[in-house]
C-alpha cells in the first residue's frame, strides 16, 4: 500500500494535464501558455498535456482578471475538474487584476472565487515561468494528493449552472492551501 502511494505521488508529479481557462484575458498570457508547449520550451518533457476537457485535467490554468461574466464560469469549471486538482494563476491579472484594478466590470482577483495554489506574475509571464509554475503546482498536487479527500461538487459540462453556492471553494479555502509565488 505504501509503495502504491509512493508510485501515485510520483505519477501525479510527472503527469500534470492542464486545462486552460480564459477569464477575460487580453490573450497575451494565453499565447505564452501555447508558447510553453512549442518546440522551444517543450513542456511535454514534464509530462504536460493540454487537455480539451476540464474533466481530464489536474491543473487549471487561469488567465485574465475575472470579469462579471467569467466569475460563474470559473466556479463551474473548477467544479468540473476532478480531484486531486490544483490551480495556477497565469499573469498579473488574476493575481491583482493588474491595470484594471477597481474597474466596475471586474470581480477579480481570482482567489476571491477559487483557491489558487501558484501565482505566476508577469504581463505576460515568460514561458519558462509558466512551466516552472506548472511544475510547482504538480509538486503541490503530489504532496497533498492522498491526504486531502476532496469533497468538491461535480457539475456536468452540459449543465451551465455554477457550482452549488460555491461550497467546494469554501471547503477548500479552510483547509490550508499552500500558496507560492514564482519569480519570472
Amino acid at each position: 500500500m505504501k509503495l502504491w502511494n509512493k508510485l501515485m505521488c510520483y505519477s501525479r508529479q510527472h503527469s500534470p494535464w492542464l486545462f486552460h481557462m480564459n477569464s477575460g484575458s487580453c490573450n497575451g498570457c494565453d499565447i505564452e501558455i501555447v508558447a510553453s508547449l512549442s518546440p522551444r520550451y517543450d513542456a511535454e518533457q514534464l509530462g504536460v498535456r493540454l487537455e480539451g476537457s476540464p474533466r481530464h485535467a489536474d491543473i487549471l490554468l487561469v488567465t485574465g482578471p475575472v470579469t462579471h461574466n467569467a466569475a460563474a464560469a470559473i466556479r463551474t469549471v473548477y467544479g468540473q475538474v476532478c480531484g486531486p486538482k490544483a490551480v495556477v494563476a497565469i499573469g498579473s491579472c488574476p493575481a491583482t487584476t493588474n491595470v484594471f484594478i477597481e474597474s466596475r466590470t471586474l470581480e477579480g482577483p481570482l482567489d476571491k472565487h477559487i483557491p489558487v495554489d501558484v501565482f505566476v506574475p508577469g504581463c505576460p509571464p515568460r514561458p519558462d515561468a509558466i512551466i516552472l509554475g506548472v511544475a510547482k503546482a504538480a509538486e503541490i498536487l503530489a504532496a497533498r494528493g492522498n491526504k486531502l479527500p476532496e469533497e468538491s461538487v461535480m457539475v456536468p459540462i452540459a449543465d451551465s449552472a455554477c457550482c452549488k453556492d460555491g461550497c467546494a471553494c469554501e471547503a477548500k479555502k479552510e483547509s490550508e492551501v499552500k500558496t507560492e509565488g514564482v519569480q519570472a
Binding site: L7, R12, S53, E150, I157
Partner: protein, 305 residues
C-alpha cells in the same frame, strides 16, 4: 495441453493482457515521441503513458446515477476487454494454435471499441460527446468498408480465414495490395491525424471522452493502446515472413510493428485534420475503388486456379 488452459494463457499472458498492456503503453509513447521529434521537440519520457495511467487511476470521478451512469462506467471496460481479446488472437508465435475463422473474430473484436466509443459519447449526454460520436459513426461507416474489403481480398486470395494459415502462407502481389489498403485505413481506425475527427480537441473538446474522468479515462487510454497493438499486430502478422524459430518470429513481429507505428506517427504529425466530408469522400470515392478491384482480382484468380 488442455485447450482451455492454452486459450486462457493466450488471453491473459502471451500475447494477451500481461504482455499487451506494456506493449500498448510502449506504442502510445512511440506515437507521442515520434510526433514530438517531427515537431523538433524532445517529447515525453519513456514511462509517460504508465505515469498517466497510474495518475488517472487515483483521480476521483463525478457521480453518475441511473442506467446512463452504469452504461458510462461499462463502455470503457467492454472496450478494454474486447481489445485485449483481439490481441490474444494474434499468432505471434508460429504454431500457437488458432482456428478457422479467427480472423473474423479478430475483426469483430477490433470493431467493438469504436462501437463503445460511439455509445459512450451518446450516453454521456454532453453535446460535444454527441458530436464526437456522430463523427466516429460516420468515420467507421467510411473506413470499415475498405478495411473489410481489404481483409476479404487477402483471405480470398489465400483461401483461408485462419490467421495462423495466413501468417504461414507465402505472400502474393494481391496480398500486398490488401495490406496497402489496410494501412490506409489504420489512421482512421486509431483516430490519428488526417482522420482524427472524433476527438478533435480544438473543435469539440475531447469528443466522446469529454465527460470521462479518472479510472474510466485510464481505461479508454488503455483500450486505445490495445487497439494500437491489435491493429498493428494484424498488419505485422500479414507482412511478416514465416520463420520456424520462435524467438526470431517474435523479433521480426516486434520490429515490423515498431516500423508501422513509426510510419503512422510520422504521417500523423505531417498532416492536418481533414473535414468530415473530405474524409468520407476520400474513403468512398478514392479508396473504395481499389479495394473493390483487389477483391475482384482475388476472386478471379481463385476461380481461374
Amino acid at each position: 495441453m488442455n485447450p482451455l488452459i492454452t486459450s486462457l494463457a493466450r488471453l491473459l499472458i502471451f500475447p494477451g493482457l500481461l504482455c499487451a498492456v506494456p506493449a500498448a503503453w510502449f506504442f502510445l509513447w512511440v506515437e507521442r515521441k515520434a510526433v514530438a521529434r517531427m515537431q523538433g521537440r524532445i517529447g515525453p519520457p519513456f514511462m509517460q503513458p504508465f505515469f498517466d495511467f497510474i495518475k488517472l487511476m487515483g483521480k476521483t470521478t463525478p457521480p453518475r446515477n441511473g442506467i446512463a451512469g452504469l452504461l458510462m462506467r461499462a463502455w470503457p471496460l467492454i472496450a478494454v476487454s474486447s481489445a485485449a481479446g483481439a490481441v490474444g488472437l494474434l499468432p505471434v508465435l508460429p504454431a500457437s494454435g488458432g482456428f478457422q475463422g479467427d480472423l473474423i473474430l479478430l475483426l469483430a473484436l477490433l470493431e467493438l471499441p469504436s462501437m463503445c466509443i460511439i455509445a459512450a459519447g451518446f450516453s454521456s449526454g454532453s453535446i460535444f460527446g454527441e458530436i464526437g460520436s456522430a463523427r466516429e459513426a460516420v468515420l467507421s461507416v467510411s473506413y470499415n468498408i475498405v478495411f473489410l474489403l481489404a481483409i476479404l481480398s487477402i483471405a480470398a486470395s489465400q483461401h483461408t480465414f485462419s490467421l495462423e494459415a495466413l501468417a504461414q502462407l507465402p505472400s502474393s502481389p494481391l496480398r500486398w495490395l490488401g495490406i496497402l489498403a489496410l494501412l490506409v485505413c489504420l489512421p482512421a481506425k486509431l483516430h490519428l491525424n488526417p482522420f482524427s475527427l472524433p476527438n478533435a480537441e480544438q473543435e469539440i473538446y475531447s469528443g466522446p471522452m469529454t465527460e470521462y474522468a479518472g479510472p474510466e479515462l485510464a481505461m479508454w487510454e488503455l483500450s486505445h493502446g490495445l487497439e494500437w497493438v491489435a491493429a498493428v499486430g494484424l498488419v505485422a502478422t500479414l507482412v511478416a515472413p514465416a520463420v520456424a524459430a520462435g524467438w526470431l518470429a517474435i523479433l521480426i513481429f516486434i520490429a515490423i510493428s515498431f516500423a508501422i507505428v513509426l510510419l503512422l506517427s510520422v504521417v500523423a504529425s505531417a498532416t492536418a485534420r481533414l473535414q468530415i466530408d473530405t474524409t468520407v469522400r476520400f474513403y468512398w470515392q478514392c479508396t473504395l475503388i481499389f479495394a473493390v478491384l483487389a477483391v475482384a482480382a482475388a476472386l478471379f484468380v481463385r476461380f481461374k486456379a
